[in-house]
């Protein structure tokens, strides 16, 4: 084994969002390097750049998501890794910018949402052994046909974890613009606190329920390959949040965090014919249209049944189109945008009864009407009126003992 410590470090778009920030990241890497680390860097595109490129593509054809779209988007990371390499070379540290094809990040051929098949590590290890810092373009891969692919939302985090896993490392650092994962969004809940530890399953649940710190897929991969994630600030040196296996954690609190998603919409179909055939038809059509269904509620009244379900706002127009296509004009399709989803998450609730009781008590005390409810083994979520979101979050945060002193 080598004497130095290899560490995969992923820097997000805001961390490399300007020349000044790129220079600051370079300073930090040089300091880590001189302190005995051997960084393997994964970078996102400069903040705003991917959106700029998406807009250019959409100006021509918003529906096209084939190979040329992926080649277009992949140019964003090519720029940021080149600049970061130039900044490191200026500081007298050798750096090597690497695109997916140069490193050997092989994926399937599903353009704009490819999955990583394998990563070659021999070249990477060779560079590290020579004292060169590899600066790898996140978010991109190469298909068997030698075409550039991209990994979809949260892609650079996924790249970083996959590289750490391929190098058989037990940790991966995710540098971002927040100092840690919090027990609730501090903009919503004043007494929110920074979490020092979190389990993979909680982080995945939080990502599904609206937390935007890490994407579900990256955490899933980290859990699968037992790569601890360290989410921390690019702009501060103190530690942030460690995300790890439940069994490695000292303590698993009943509830770890309150999560919300303000971009929720409820769709209501009030006069559906009875029977399960129509339900199957609707959800099949929505699945084919790639609409993510969140919580479903169903009830019966006389000769009709009612169906309501929540989706994210960006899928709203597509969902309405599909419902009208499938159901024709006889069924009333209504939607409500003034809602939000609130949830509590914690692996400890598996062994603690009474969490649901406390959840509903807390909501009830504030007279907050609930539209839809669902539970998993480690979460309870509800769709409520959006104007009550802050009350609900603050109340739940307090009830479950998460308030900071």
């Amino acid at each position: 084994m080598s004497e130095y410590q290899i560490m995969v470090k992923k820097f997000g778009g805001t961390s490399v969002g300007s020349i000044e920030r790129i220079e600051a990241v370079a300073d930090r890497l040089v300091s880590d390097y001189h302190n005995g680390q051997r960084p393997v860097v994964v970078a996102s595109a400069m903040s705003g750049e991917t959106n700029r490129l998406v807009n250019l593509a959409n100006d021509i054809n918003p529906r096209y998501r084939g190979p040329a779209y992926d080649m277009l988007l992949a140019s964003g990371e090519q720029v940021s890794i080149s600049l970061l390499s130039i900044a490191l070379e200026k500081r007298g540290v050798k750096a090597r910018p690497m695109l997916a094809y140069q490193l050997g990040i092989l994926t399937d051929s599903l353009h704009s949402k490819a999955k990583i098949h394998s990563i070659k590590t021999d070249k990477l290890r060779g560079l590290v052994d020579e004292g060169i810092i590899p600066i790898i373009a996140g978010f991109q891969g190469m298909s068997e046909e030698q075409m550039i692919t991209t990994l979809g939302r949260g892609g650079s985090d996924t790249s970083a974890v996959a590289i750490a896993a391929a190098m058989e490392l037990d940790t991966c650092e995710i540098y971002t613009d927040v100092p840690a994962v919090c027990s609730a969004d501090p903009r919503l809940v004043k007494k929110a606190s920074e979490l020092t530890e979190l389990s993979f399953s909680e982080m995945m649940e939080m990502a599904s329920l609206g937390s935007r710190v890490l994407h579900h897929r990256c955490v899933e991969l980290a859990a699968k390959y037992k790569v601890k994630l360290h989410v921390r600030s690019t702009f501060e040196t103190r530690e942030g949040t460690w995300i790890m296996r439940e069994e490695d954690r000292l303590e698993n609190p009943v509830v770890t965090a309150v999560t919300h998603d303000a971009s929720t919409v409820i769709i209501r179909l009030l006069n559906l014919p009875l029977g399960t055939e129509v339900l199957s038809t609707i959800f099949t059509a929505l699945a084919e249209g790639e609409v993510m269904i969140d919580i479903i509620g169903q009830g019966q009244a006389n000769e009709f049944q009612r169906l309501s379900f929540s989706i994210t706002e960006e899928d709203l127009h597509r969902t309405l189109d599909i419902c009208k296509n499938v159901l024709g004009n006889e069924v009333d399709v209504a939607y409500d945008k003034d809602v939000a989803k609130i949830a509590v998450v914690g692996v400890g609730m598996r062994n603690h009864p009474g969490v649901a009781a406390k959840f509903f008590q807390s909501i009830h005390e504030h007279k907050i009407p609930i539209h839809l409810v669902t539970t998993s083994d480690i979460s309870i979520s509800a769709v409520i009126g959006r104007e009550k979101l802050q009350d609900a979050a603050t109340s739940l945060h307090q009830s479950f003992g998460l308030d900071q002193d």
Copy 2:
């Protein structure tokens, strides 16, 4: 042989400078395609993009021109070829954006000024046979070490000619924002006319003497591989200027064009010690500093010698630094920016005496002082006062019978 006509078509930065222009280029390509052509497209970066990227790099380190610089700049063409491909796919024509490594454009490892060694054409021919339009990133290549390289100024034109040569084609179309190569810059000489034909050697001479339509290297390559160049407008359908071998031309006029370069500077060293050693020392140091020396004049006065030479303005500060380093404080280094170079070019002058006489008569009639003069077998050039540039150009254009009716 196949029935269709394969044609390499190069589009410059202004031709793909906006979404509207990219859509217009796509329309044109689709029309060519349906008229029986099989286009092989080479594109530059969107106008302004390469400068934006150069500025980002310079903000970190203006002296760095290594591999990361080339990777950075190469992203510009990656964007334009992706967008052009999306625009073609929208029109129902299959397109394949191709980067240098995907096509197999192999170069040496001289980053930021690499030279092409070889181009693989099997993949290209396969695509064309399938009816797919290859959209190739100009300006870039790949070194043996699998690093991205760039070809320096005029690189995309060079890429296009090299691809046409590798495919053994006899023509290459260069689409640009002017309709043709002119007998003089129309902004300077009102009676300038569009040239229908030009020889390779004339075009190379014009490029060396200040014409910016095509880079010297691209014409040199075209001459070597006997690839006729057709310079024409992206925005009009009529033909432009054909650049070809002298022996293929119907007629070779004595003088074909008047060329100028307003970014000329004269350096004057007035009190150099006698002898050739000091001259050798100066020019060796300037060559090592990559200063391009243009015209040289030298004379003797008592115990000193005078040296003057012209350079382009962008090399001025470097030149002054080098002269001071080499010569110390005893030699006076002066420079004059208020000058310009004017030249007449024509392969016919090889067989026609009296061209120099007519050149100097024309200059003399307008009482234009001459600072430096030089000739080649197909050109006569002089550095004159910049304020006299228009007079000189207009007068020479008229004297050599180039005025449009």
